[in-house]
Symmetry: C2
Subunit: 215 residues, 2 copies
Amino acid sequence: MSVPGSDTVPRGRRVPRPSGDDRELAILATAERLLADRPLSAISVDDLARGAGISRPTFYFYFASKDAVLLSLLDRVVAEADAATLDAALLPVAGPREGWRQAITTYFETFRAHRALTLAWAEARSTNAEVRDLWARVFHDWSQRCAAAIEAERARGAAPPGPPARDLAVLLNSMNERALYATFSGDGPAVDESTVVDVLLEVWLRTIYGTAPAD
Amino acid sequence: MSVPGSDTVPRGRRVPRPSGDDRELAILATAERLLADRPLSAISVDDLARGAGISRPTFYFYFASKDAVLLSLLDRVVAEADAATLDAALLPVAGPREGWRQAITTYFETFRAHRALTLAWAEARSTNAEVRDLWARVFHDWSQRCAAAIEAERARGAAPPGPPARDLAVLLNSMNERALYATFSGDGPAVDESTVVDVLLEVWLRTIYGTAPAD
DNA sequence: GAACGAGTCAACACGGTGTTGAGAAACGGC
DNA sequence: GCCGTTTCTCAACACCGTGTTGACTCGTTC
């Protein structure tokens, strides 16, 4: 429980001994496989255990719960996403359009590569506090980086003043999150997967570099 | 199951006979009361039944499930939200800023008035297809109205051309949805409740009336 | 070869959902 | 008043998913 910020502590229960490592990996692999064609809520601990060739009680030897398996999987994706950092220094060089396109595309590709996991993540977020905290951390980091980039653009005179950069960053990232979820999940109105990055980029550029009419 | 578009059919089971009406209302009231201080997943059918002064099997006489109660409550809010329609003709008269501010404020106030329900809604959407469909319908209607307003603004020369109006409408509404959820729920980074409408409005105006830099 | 710890699982306890079948209570017709 | 029908109610049940317990196996180590 808690200590949401702590890292590098393995999510698996106790010390995962070498010999049982395969089992642990088998559970993780099973989870990702099953998530590919049904939501987390439709997968039981028994499904995971059987899929990994063990009994249900044995599952609990490796993970504290179904959600712990998901968190373990998410930790990896987060590490991946963290690596793909937004380089604010890139904007003046590559030009705003290309710089921001790259940032949005990276975000998009990272989650598209783990579509099933992304959807399960969103699902678990509403019921599991640890998942919620992990996402909040990721979202916060990402927004902060965007806010810094917006401020840098304003400082060098490339972007006009406006609402607090932090607020704009939070809103634009909220849009990306929700829009990509809609696009990936396919339920409800969404922008087509082939054009969503372009339209998102246009909204970002107009929001950061444009101005509202004087009325 | 299914037939998601059908309306005006009461969500309660069978024909709600006059004498049992109080019970049905008691269940709905209990649900809204309990949702005010804990999430839907932490409320059992038994809680609802006891809260309404009946036994669990009796609950099933009135509603097919816990989710049916939520849907019944949502139907009302949806009716309320539908009434608060975006009047596209208002924009040329009141001016873009005031016209759009009114639309966003209405949306904001409608859901803020039913904060607990809004959060429960978001939670149930990930597991219940009917809730998902109902939301998709609301979101679709709203986006369509916004798209029409954007097109009207472009037609009268007030807004410059850009990405398909429908795509912009979907993205901007996605932003509003996610941002308001974050603001109401209070977990994760969010824009403060007192300023969120202003910042949202600024993003909308810049997106609809502004242009991106030529690079 | 005894002691130990990692790994395994049958069996259990518990809590939630949704159903059944047997009635009580309300009401209209005669 | 009494009878039949419809509405309403709930004890008891069947089922499923979670998480725990305690005993047992098996490889390692001294």
